[in-house]
């Protein structure tokens, strides 16, 4: 049994002056070392979740436990040291005037000595393959590069968990791929737990687990294979299904004798290969 790293119990949250609950009685667990995708259309409450996990907002009722510690006003700074966050807008989280200053910002905050900082900044930047950009200013970087710097800033602090709060939604396809690739590599290397809040279903298909949010409630929880079985429902929720699933369905309709529900193109290619060799 994998270790529970984070658990949410009966979370209810309402923004000030709003009638409806942004989150209404949400409970789930996050396990160590997994990639959890939280999907939902804009306004489904998924970004509020991210803010609660990091203690940027506090729920009206319910508890959040991170690494056996209940998240409260007192424990919030400890919890934040374990959870790194990458936000949506690449510009509005870049604090430093240059790349290295920005990566160092979090380290300065927790009082890391200068010599250690220099080393950690270098390390973090090489992990995200941005070492050459040490003195670059943010307005000369692409969105994807800025997000990688944000990731470096998180990595430098050596957290257990990374939350990507729609971190790729403002990027072009290349930037998106760069960022996801970087996080995947880091996850492998550092045994990180990744929580990705997204409406990119291709990305969610590669997660270990998916949580679908709708109208502030947990709509469904399961492996990508389970989740994408309810294709019509997902589209009604304002979401989409991955290309490979659409294609395998269209192939079936055309009488190609293959299974249905391929999560990745590779799986589909493999099945087609097998079929082809039998023909």
């Amino acid at each position: 049994m994998r270790k529970k790293l984070v658990s949410l119990e009966n979370i209810k949250f309402k923004y000030e002056g709003q009638k409806n609950f942004a989150l209404n009685d949400v409970s789930f667990d996050i396990y160590e070392g997994e990639w959890l995708a939280i999907v939902g259309h804009n306004g489904s409450g998924k970004s509020t979740l991210a803010k609660l996990l990091n203690g940027l907002q506090f729920a009206q009722t319910g508890t959040i436990t991170v690494n056996d510690k209940v998240l409260t006003e007192e424990t919030v700074w400890d919890v934040r040291r374990q959870i790194g966050m990458v936000f949506q807008n690449p510009d509005n989280q870049f604090v430093g005037t240059t790349v290295q200053d920005d990566v160092a910002f979090g380290l300065e905050n927790v009082g890391v000595p200068q010599e250690v900082m220099v080393e950690r900044v270098q390390n973090a930047l090489s992990k995200v393959k941005m070492s050459k950009f040490l003195n670059q200013e943010p307005h000369h970087l692409s969105g994807g590069q800025k997000q990688r710097i944000a990731i470096a800033g998180v990595v430098a602090l050596q957290p257990n968990i990374i939350i990507l709060d729609e971190a790729t939604s403002m990027l072009d396809p290349r930037g998106r791929e760069e960022v996801l690739e970087t996080v995947r590599e880091l996850m492998q290397e550092k045994a990180l737990t990744v929580i990705s809040i997204t409406h990119d279903l291709e990305e969610a298909a590669k997660a270990d687990r998916i949580i679908v949010m709708n109208k502030g409630q947990l709509y469904r929880e399961g492996t990508p294979r389970d989740i994408f079985k309810m294709e019509k429902e997902l589209i009604e929720l304002g979401l989409d299904i991955p290309f490979s699933i659409k294609l395998s369905k269209a192939l079936q309709k055309n009488g190609v004798a293959i299974d249905y529900g391929h999560l990745t193109e590779e799986e589909l290619v493999k099945d087609l290969c097998e079929l082809h060799s039998k023909m």
Partner: protein, 265 residues
């Protein structure tokens, strides 16, 4: 026009000036601004001119670029020159045309004041041209550090300044973007009666403020998420290095001051 402005701009290069400690540069510029007022005759002004020229050469900034950058303030210099020529009535009359009289003292004052003005602008521009704004901030923070004893929030001020510097290009870009979007919707920012032009600012300012507030809010959230809790217990990543050249320049400035005092009339 804005493209040509050099005031407050940084031009990357690898010169002695670029490598100097920002604290030294700030102190030097500050004292230079003071001693410029010591000059009061041809010899002292020429000396200052030579020193300024020397600094320009040391900075490796192209003189042509500096001059084109001075254009926006040229009008101001010409204006001061004319004011002095027309209103200082000292010494011999050099030229007379109707009511217009130009005195020797007026001409001298005009030339000197304009020169003084030019020196000041050149030297302060060179400071910003060869020092990144963040280094200037660091230098200031270090120089002002003693004030912390009197509860002056030096760290907060420096952080505010560095964030402002960080966001200037972002907000400039944003201004340009919103301006273009509104021009595309038929706004005319550059012609028509003044009243209309003032009205045209509203569709620019409102979105700019809305976006600046949104950015500020998101940035504050991001800073909090990254563990920012104020200056206490914080370490500093950037370190300043005071080198030989910085000390030498300080000594040079003291000598220059002495010479100016000796040579002034």
């Amino acid at each position: 026009m804005l493209d040509k402005m050099i005031f407050g701009r940084y031009v990357p290069a690898n010169s002695v000036m670029h490598r100097m400690d920002p604290r030294a540069k700030l102190l030097l510029v500050f004292f230079f601004v003071c001693i410029v007022f010591l000059a009061n005759n041809l010899v002292t002004y020429s000396l200052l001119g030579l020193v300024t020229l020397g600094i320009i050469l040391l900075s490796k900034i192209k003189i042509r670029f500096l001059i084109s950058g001075l254009k926006p303030v040229l009008l101001l210099i010409i204006f001061t020159f004319l004011v002095h020529i027309l209103f200082t009535k000292e010494g011999k009359v050099l030229y007379q045309l109707g009511w217009l009289e130009i005195y020797e003292g007026g001409l001298r004052q005009g030339v000197f004041i304009s020169l003084r003005f030019t020196f000041l602008i050149l030297v302060t521009s060179l400071l910003t041209l060869t020092t990144t704004p963040i280094s200037i901030t660091d230098g200031m923070e270090e120089l002002l550090n003693p004030l912390k004893k009197w509860k002056v929030p030096v760290h907060e001020l420096a952080l505010m300044m560095s964030i402002a510097l960080r966001f200037i290009p972002t907000l400039m870009e944003e201004t340009d973007k919103i301006m273009k979007a509104q021009i595309a919707r038929g706004v005319d920012f550059s012609s028509g009666p003044i009243k209309n032009r003032i009205k045209a600012i509203v569709p620019l300012l409102v979105p700019l403020f809305v976006s600046a507030f949104k950015r500020a809010e998101e940035l504050a959230t991001a800073m909090e998420a990254r563990g920012y809790q104020g200056g206490e217990g914080r370490t500093k990543y950037r370190q300043l290095h005071w080198g030989m050249i910085d000390s030498l320049c300080m000594v040079g400035l003291v000598i220059l001051t002495g010479v100016l005092v000796l040579l002034r009339s």
